[in-house]
Amino acid sequence: MNALNSLLDGFGTALTPLNLLWAAVGVLLGTAIGVLPGIGPAMAVALLLPVTYGLDPTGAFIMFAGIYYGAMFGGSTTSILLNTPGESAAVVAAMEGNPMAKSGRGAQALAAAAVGHFAGGMVGTLLLVALAPTVADLAVDIGAPDYFAIMVLAFIAVTSVLGSSRIRGLASLLIGLTIGLIGLDQMTGQQRLTFGSLHLADGVDVVIVAVGLFAIGEALWVAAHLRRRPPEPIPVGRPWLGRADLRRTWKSWARGPLIGFPFGAIPAGGAEIPTFLSYVTEKRLSKHKDEWGKGAIEGVAGPESAASASAAGTLVSMLTLGLPTTAVAAVMLAAFQQYGIQPGPLLFEREPDLVWGLIASLFVGMVLLLALNLPLAPLWAKLLRVPRPYLYAGIMFFAAVGAYAVGGEVIDLVLLLVIGLIGFGMRRYGLPVLPAVIGVILGPAAEQQLRRALQISDGSVTGLVNTPFSVTVYAVVVLLLAWPLLRRALPHRTATPAGTPETAGESESRTPSDRGV
């Protein structure tokens, strides 16, 4: 009952007019950003990090959470109407949603997606309420070795589960760790990689790194390859669902969160794998197998529900352990750091107003999303026609505002461009951006925990593995590292599905389902 009471208090926080306003701003901005091609939720939250200088933490996180959920919905709108998904989470929405839109059932596809997001988000957030306090309680007396183990897990997970190449993931992580080293050593004040520059002695602000990699890097990358004729969106009316559609979709909506939530909570690439798994499951269970590939509504409903539930799962790990499992969570973690708040088991004790206000606002945001998005869908579709020069000029503009707001120094803008060029190069050569961002955000913290742990054990490496928790986490790490070898030993399938990179968790869970077909 404790969680319930706290949640009620949270609603007290979330339903104040000002926080309600931030939630509304968040979901509207998030949806718009999700719809706009080229801007993902991570870039959006990164571009908005500067508001943390002026806003109280509760308001800021309510807005960020609204953006996260809103962008998920907006991304699927783009996929359905344009068939060129920008976010990996929205890839699956295009597979059935776009054929539906082409055959004049775009309104139903959007409705199935919107209700799916609502259902998935609701169930996911309820699970968050039920689980998060328990996880936080279990983890409440974890110490430096455990924190270090969690961070190692985050590093290994983002480099080896995501993307197609471990070497490139690792390269990206090391670039991030290197950027994180710049500045004064937190424990001794020793200058590292500063080359005598006073400005670098303060370190590179994480806002500049996130905005540079996500926003400037993306804008430059698109500029190099700008499609001269943007694809034409399919016009669409107000979303609605008929009785027959409802009968087909409600089970898919209900199944989605079961797949999405657990995958969101573990570092396995956010919504990409669960949406795909949900797609496969729905296809197998569907009574209308002939429609698949031509616009089966279950193929939109299930995955979209899974996507939103995975966002809730992501928040569980982020809030209770301080473990970011997606790019958005990583940037939100950076926002916590801006406020000097350390997400983790103690967060629920130290900042109950903030956490429960944030969780309650997720429910509020979901209702707002459903209420706003059904009538506004035709308007969102118009956003797809925004001239691309304005879009990317706007991204550069807001990136500059954000970086300048950090300290009011022009040199920060130069640094931003340099990091943007690194982001450009990473996109060109297939180095994933997320490991670098995680490296910058968690690197310095990981080093501190490592040194603290070794200080306690007086330099003995056993000090890193002297708790059951850390041993468990390292076991998971070893499993992740050994996975390619294990997979070779197991019987496996030959082809990988179009558009989804072969990843460990995915093939693990998909193998049995494919046997049956």
């Binding site: 190449s165 990358w221 390859h225 700008l226 450009f424």
Partner: protein, 186 residues
């Protein structure tokens, strides 16, 4: 069954980069080796910096400020080597796809350079001109570089956007931005 239940054959995922089979030169085809070289240089830099650190006085506890940079530096050297080996064996990093990204066309370096130039130029102008003016120039310049040629509309949008952002940050959020001579007049 050799073909599993893969989703619709329609291309929804990242389109593979169009690497021309008749590569003009070996170097061009192996340009990714440059990434390895950069990582190698970065590793040497990090290691040099770490090993030239003077830590005798400041060190507290068994692990000083040197350890982690040394690990990161060695990691960079290792990854640089592994990447080079991977590239030489035919591995290629896949260029990132996106809604507005057309990988079928060769990269447009001119636009990238111009865009970077516009960005740097505006950055330098923030202090003398103030944020509203420099920001407007940044937006207009970037839009122009990216191919927008509406001389009537573009500057107007740029000015409105820049003033709105200035008002939002400087007045509403309390993040000070320089107004410049222009805001002194208004």
């Amino acid at each position: 069954m050799t073909t599993p239940s893969t989703p619709a054959p329609e291309q929804t995922g990242p389109v593979p980069p169009a690497t021309p089979r008749t590569a003009r030169s070996w170097l061009r085809d192996h340009s990714e080796l440059g990434v390895g070289a950069l990582l190698l240089a970065l590793g040497v830099l990090v290691l040099t910096d770490a090993l030239t650190m003077d830590v005798d006085i400041t060190q507290r506890g068994p692990v000083g400020p040197k350890t982690v940079p040394v690990v990161v530096g060695i990691g960079l050297l290792l990854v640089a080597t592994l990447l080079a080996v991977d590239v030489l064996r035919g591995g290629r990093g896949q260029a990132e796809a996106g809604e507005d990204v057309d990988l079928g066309e060769p990269a447009d370096w001119r636009t990238v350079l111009l865009l970077s130039g516009v960005f740097l130029g505006s950055a330098v102008l923030i202090e003398p001109l103030g944020f509203p003016a420099a920001g407007a120039l940044l937006f207009w310049g970037a839009a122009y570089t990216l191919g927008s040629r509406r001389v009537d509309r573009d500057p107007l949008i740029a000015a409105v956007l820049s003033l709105a952002a200035y008002a939002l940050f400087d007045k509403l959020l309390g993040v000070p931005l320089p107004g410049g001579p222009l805001m002194g007049v208004l």
